[in-house]
């Protein structure tokens, strides 16, 4: 199962890589809807709440189809609101699935992310239930078929002595209490979704819940435009005494009808249980094992100055500060291994290089870059391209063909700025950091903190003595070959106007967190 899960990851990653690249080209990474899929769902959820509250004013439990038909016939305050409500729910389903696929492709479902994965699946289930109950409310052919087929499946369980399906058999009109319960579910489930959303992001520091305004406005306006130019029509009311040849199906919520209708109820349950178990068990199967399993960060308490920065930068809230007992400082960093995903962002945030995953602390990085710069194969006038392993690292061959000396890192946020400084002072023509697009960062905030450290003096900043003209940052995903090559060429052209770089004989890079607690690391 592990191999299968990893193969699935690779397959989806390949598919998304192409889509990412194409959409980055068209919309730029800031507005790439795939990167924003999670926040788009939240936005659409808000649209659904707003339009749903309005529609609720006109819905009548005693006359479900008639009340919706009246609403649909009103082009000013009814039809377009209903259309926006419908299309938003469909788009939310699409965005949720894309979001889930991204998480699978990026291997973000296991370890400390299990809660987010499971709560995400629950949210998907709640969205599905919410959508289905919404269609049942209309009580047209599709709504009735959802109810009838759903009842058939539930009736396969030996828990109710009276089949639910009899409620729709035509012995008597479908009772108002059914529509009341359905409406209750349709309203209550979103409340559960709000709670689920809170749980979903509960392990994240600084969760981003909404997309950039321009993208959000664009999506809502597009959905509204379609609701206006292609208004919803009303299908005939459901009747237990006729079997319509065709019904209009919303495939985002009714996709299961052709799959379950030919099967006995017990088989549907069996298939459903297997499918749900596969989804819920995915974190277990995709979990890294053995040497693949990245170790959580550790803190060298002798080096830690208690500056708080690693705790501030950690995207998962895995680092807390504990009181110190040796009298050196008030507090010392402490990593909770149950929350740490081994992103290494803390290593990039620690000026004295006292925290990080084993082998990826600032000190380890300095040692690696020292060996890299000393490699005789590398030309001294080459641009060092620091490529994130999850993104531009896949373009190593292309970047090398353009004359770049590719220095791979696990995550751009893991990169300690001393590495950049060391490379330049060791004679590199320049350092181009190719980070993933911020919303595509596997570790959430890597590119954000990297730029802050390089350009905005965030703690563990790139020292002022480093010539910023020899440093550049670009955002490229694994499929953005053209963007990566263009960024490198542009940077090379810029460097061509500068005086040739000179290697320093002795390089001391600063690892300063607090001037009073300065420490020098010699590379």
């Amino acid at each position: 199962m592990h191999a299968l899960a990893r193969a699935l990851e690779r397959l989806i990653r390949r598919m998304l890589r192409q889509a990412d690249a194409g959409l980055n080209l068209l919309y730029g990474w800031r507005y790439n809807p795939i990167y924003q899929s999670g926040t788009i769902v939240v936005l659409l959820f808000l649209v659904l709440l707003a339009t749903g509250l309005w529609l609720l004013l006109f819905y009548r439990i005693g006359a479900p189809w008639d009340s919706v038909a009246r609403l649909t016939a009103n082009p000013w305050t009814g039809n377009w609101v209903r259309g926006l409500h419908r299309y938003s729910s469909d788009a939310a389903m699409v965005a949720t699935l894309v979001h889930a696929l991204r998480m699978v492709a990026q291997g973000r479902s296991w370890g400390p992310r299990v809660l987010a994965w499971v709560s995400g699946l629950v949210l998907l289930g709640l969205l599905f239930v919410c959508g289905v109950t919404g269609f049942v409310m209309v009580w047209d052919g599709f709504g009735a078929e959802l109810a009838v087929e759903g009842a058939r499946i539930v009736d396969a369980l030996p828990i109710l002595s009276e089949p639910i399906g009899r409620a729709f058999a035509g012995e008597r009109p479908v009772q108002g209490v059914f529509f009341f319960l359905n409406l209750f579910l349709h309203i209550a489930v979103p409340l559960g979704m709000a709670l689920g959303l809170w749980l979903h992001v509960s392990k994240l520091a600084r969760p981003v819940l909404l997309p950039p305004r321009a993208l959000g406005r664009g999506i809502v306006l597009l959905l509204l435009a379609v609701a206006l130019v292609w208004p919803l029509a009303m299908a005939p009311e459901a009747s237990p005494f006729s079997r319509p040849e065709f019904i209009a199906v919303d495939w985002f919520f009714g996709f299961w009808l052709p799959l379950t209708r030919p099967l006995p109820g017990a088989a549907v349950w069996a298939a459903g249980v297997i499918f749900a178990a596969a989804l819920l068990g995915f974190p277990r199967w995709s979990r890294r094992r053995g040497t693949e399993l990245p170790p959580p960060s550790t803190v060298d308490t002798q080096i830690c100055t208690g500056c708080l920065q690693c705790g501030l930068d950690c995207p998962y809230g895995a680092i807390t500060m504990l009181p110190r007992t040796d009298g050196r400082a008030e507090v010392v960093a402490d990593v909770d291994p149950a929350l740490c995903v081994s992103c290494g962002i803390c290593a990039g945030s620690c000026a004295p290089m006292g925290v990080g995953p084993p082998g990826r602390t600032g000190r380890d990085q300095l040692e690696t870059v020292r060996r890299f710069m000393a490699d005789p194969v590398r030309r001294t006038d080459q641009v060092v391209v620091i490529a994130c392993g999850h993104g531009a690292g896949a373009l190593t061959t292309d970047l090398q063909a353009e004359g770049g000396a590719v220095y791979p890192v696990d995550c751009a946020g893991n990169l300690h700025t001393s590495v950049i400084e060391y490379a330049i002072r060791a004679g590199a023509a320049g350092v181009l950091v190719l980070a993933c697009p911020p919303r595509d960062c596997r570790n959430r905030e890597g590119p954000l903190w990297l730029e802050e450290r390089i350009y905005h003096e965030r703690e563990a900043e790139l020292q002022a003595r480093v010539n910023r003209e020899r440093v550049a940052v670009a955002h490229v995903s694994a499929g953005d070959r053209g963007t990566a090559v263009a960024a490198l060429r542009q940077f090379q052209a810029r460097l061509a106007g500068l005086v040739p770089a000179m290697a320093e004989a002795t390089i001391q890079v600063g690892a300063v967190c607090d001037p009073a607690d300065e420490e020098r690391v010699t590379g």
Binding site: E162, G165, R166, S242, I247
Partner: protein, 215 residues
Amino acid sequence: MKTPLRRSIGFVLAGTSVMGIAWLSRAPYRLHPSEAALIRLAWSARPERIETCREPNEAELARLPAHMRQKVVCEGTSARYRLRVTVDDTVVLDEVVRGSGLRHDRPVYLLRDLPATPGRLQLQVRFERIDSLIAAPLAAPNSEEKSDSLLAGLPGRDRREATERERRRQEAVPATLALDEVVVLSPRQVLLVTYDVENRRLMSVSDHGVRGERP
């Protein structure tokens, strides 16, 4: 790619995607490809009880709390029924139906869908008790109260028990229910056969209303 071209393609792609979503939200699905009609059997009915009734002795009554003492105790099970549906002399359904619940002591809840060829059909539905009732309910008690000391504090109890047994017997489905009709089914029509509790008979219902009104 130049920016205006990129924007144009981006706009067209976004528009097409949303239109695609809109289309998929209403795309037709062929729910019932065949023109077959449907005969739906749907009813609930309380099966008759097959019970052996006896009067408990003083010792048994003494073991029970006062409110649980009954003059007549009945034990047994619910009767089984044979459901047989014939369309134009062809048996399309023949099965034994029991009360629901693990002990089959709950009402019979029936829901069966039988496909049928549209057109004129001779439909026969029979719902017949299989088991014979082993013991008939006890006759109505004498008007005199039982003078047993254990039941003395519960005046009229035996009469109420008898009334209750009679009510249950009346509620139970008749030993035989039958429907024998010529029906004309149009394509994709659903004909419902259900149990008319008030008149204690089977009846067929369609979108044209109740059929098979019989004197």
